[in-house]
């Protein structure tokens, strides 16, 4: 008989700072897939138009943006001052689909603990599964919107009359999407960790994202920002994501490797702070929620 027996799982009151359950979360990848499928199918259940809603929403927002910000307010749609002015419709649509992905993922993941407390209070699965699944299910809508945008882009290209270019920057799109996912999930899980105790932040999320949108070049081009405040403006990690995305798609815009790398640093830091906070809170959040 052995005195010491090996146990596969040991639960203690102590928690290691970097115990993030990454491997375990990977083992639950089937669950992530099922959550994504559930989110997507239940989103369009009992609707007539179904996934077409994913297109309708940004389409209308873009039309309104084109009229209000483009025609009435006459804000520039160029990211670099003096650069080629992009067609308003394409410009706003690119910004909108990025932003709707970012804010959508952030809003849903910021509610991870509150909205899943019924399930999480009864059974254990790596809690990180929920925000990851959210990021992917939002990505499906984003994909549909991106296909639509590419369709319009092709129409513009074929009809001519614009100087849209296809450049090697196109390869940056997956990177931009990845960064968007990390940043939105990072912010979301930070907020969700903080809201298990204080609900105040849930109220702030709604208008916070709205304000953040105006601090990002969605409704106007980066060219609008005076040169001397540009550094401050670029601290917002969303800005380089959006401008890089537009540059990659249209072949024109603003790309500064320094600011770009900085936004990656901010993204990664936010994401890891989120992970650490999340894994700390997830152990006992059921007691305080």
């Amino acid at each position: 008989m052995e005195e010491q027996q090996y146990f596969k799982t040991v639960i203690t009151s102590e928690h290691k700072l970097l115990d993030l359950h990454i491997r375990e979360t990977f083992r639950y990848r089937d669950l992530i897939f099922l959550f994504v499928k559930r989110d997507f199918t239940s989103l369009y259940k009992q609707t007539i138009l179904g996934p077409a809603w994913a297109i309708i929403q940004p389409l209308f927002t873009t039309v309104v943006f084109t009229i209000v910000f483009g025609n009435l307010a006459n804000l520039t749609t160029a990211d670099a001052a003096g650069d080629f002015v992009l067609p308003g419709f394409l410009f706003y649509m690119a910004g909108n689909i990025c932003w709707s992905y970012f804010s959508g993922t952030l809003t849903v993941t910021s509610n991870t603990f509150l909205s899943n407390s019924a399930t999480m209070g009864k059974v254990y699965y790596p809690r990180l599964v929920s925000p990851i699944a959210t990021a992917f299910s939002q990505l499906i809508s984003f994909g549909i919107q991106l296909v639509m945008l590419l369709g319009i882009w092709v129409v513009y290209l074929v009809l001519g009359g614009t100087s849209l270019r296809v450049t090697p920057m196109l390869l940056m799109i997956p990177l931009a999407i990845l960064q968007m996912m990390l940043l939105s999930v990072g912010c979301g899980i930070i907020i969700s960790s903080l809201t298990t105790k204080y609900r105040d932040l849930t109220h702030a999320v709604g208008f916070g994202t709205q304000l953040w949108q105006y601090a990002s070049p969605i409704a106007y081009g980066l060219g609008l920002i005076p040169q001397k405040y540009l550094w401050l403006y670029m601290l917002n990690p969303v800005t380089p994501i959006v401008t890089t995305f537009r540059y990659a798609l249209f072949g024109f815009g603003y790309f500064d490797i320094g600011y770009y790398l900085l936004s990656w640093v901010v993204t990664v830091v936010v994401f890891f702070i989120g992970l650490i906070l999340f894994s700390r809170i997830e152990r006992t959040f059921m007691d305080t929620i």
Binding site: D30, L34, Y124, D287
Partner: protein
Amino acid sequence: MEELMLKIDSVSKLYKLGQIGGTTLRDELQRKMAKLRKKEDPTMRIGTKSHQKGETFLALDGVSFEVKRGERVGIIGHNGAGKSTLLKLISRVTAPTGGVISMNGRVASMLEVGTGFHMELTGRENIYMNGAILGMTKKEIDAKMEDIIDFSECRQFIDTPVKRYSSGMYVKLAFSVAAHLDAEIVIMDEVLAVGDMAFQKKCLNKMNDVSRQDGRTILYVSHNMSTVRQLCDRVVVLSHGKVIFDGDVESGIDRYMDIREETSQTEFDLSGKRMLYLPATVLAKMTYLRLLAKSKAVYAAGERIEFCLRVHAEKTVDNMLLRMELKYGDDSPVGTAIFAVLGAISKGDTVEYTLSFDPSLLASGNYKALFVIYEMNEFGSYNDLDAVCPAFYFTFEDGRNIHWDLNHWGHVCFPDLRAVSRELVEEARFPKEQDAEKGV
């Protein structure tokens, strides 16, 4: 060597009392500020003393026990004893404040059936969903899919969204998923309380099979002692966050029922035990009971239970009768003794009756007696005057040298099953068949 599956080592869980969650950041900041300035907490309710703030509650206090492979352990205790908290810790819903829980293998918790069911998805999709939440991979679920559908008795509706299911179907489906998990440790918290009787029985049998054949370990929490008896081979009794008993099922249940302490009592004040269905003013009431010639309410075979019952009459009653209903310790009915004629009692009198009862038909165990006095008029219709439950407790030891299987045998041992004659016959056939052959 029996493999250790679960080891719980001086585990404790501390909850903060009062306002924990749900406070706002502003409240918390105000509190912090007040603390800094050494003033009274402004968010505190008026009238509460400051030392009450920050009071804590130990839901579990140094709980330790070990569970081996294939054991079926029932965890029982009164409300608030810490059963659910313990299961929550084992199933990792929340973390312990102190101590270590070590486990060998996957844990499937059925703290609530249908966890993670989504109304819009079909039964089949929900099986995948539920299985995945409980830790199975898609491949494992595929392999079990047919079994799960068969067991759930819902094949006809399996591709219909579960929002169209009846609640019974919903529960059956949910239990089926959980029961077919490949987990080494299965945790159940009164999930069997749902579903119809036939399905409950099926579930219990399934859990029994699962434990015996696959050597799975089961932790079962319930207030239903008969299911604990059927399922478990060991019982851990919790009380106020501590383990007060760990051992065989019957003694554990007795301990839980506190019967051992009750049987040391021989005098009972009945005035506070009135049953609720009676009118507020009763014509006559039982006030006091004393067991005679006993220092403990423990009776052996051959002894009669003799007691003295005091009745006080508010009004004159002409023909008063007494009925005694016997219940087992877990409140399951055993039988009724009718009736002792107490006769007439006049207004304002208090009368002491001496009565006796022969318990020899009972099987060994702990019983309680419920008394009803009633009045019968000349037309044979009767009217309950007073009822007390329980009037008294007693333990009976039958002295029979057999293991009495309560679950299937009940609580009464009938006398005299007699073999009347013995005859050798040629063929083991039904007589009718033989007659039919002769007839043709």
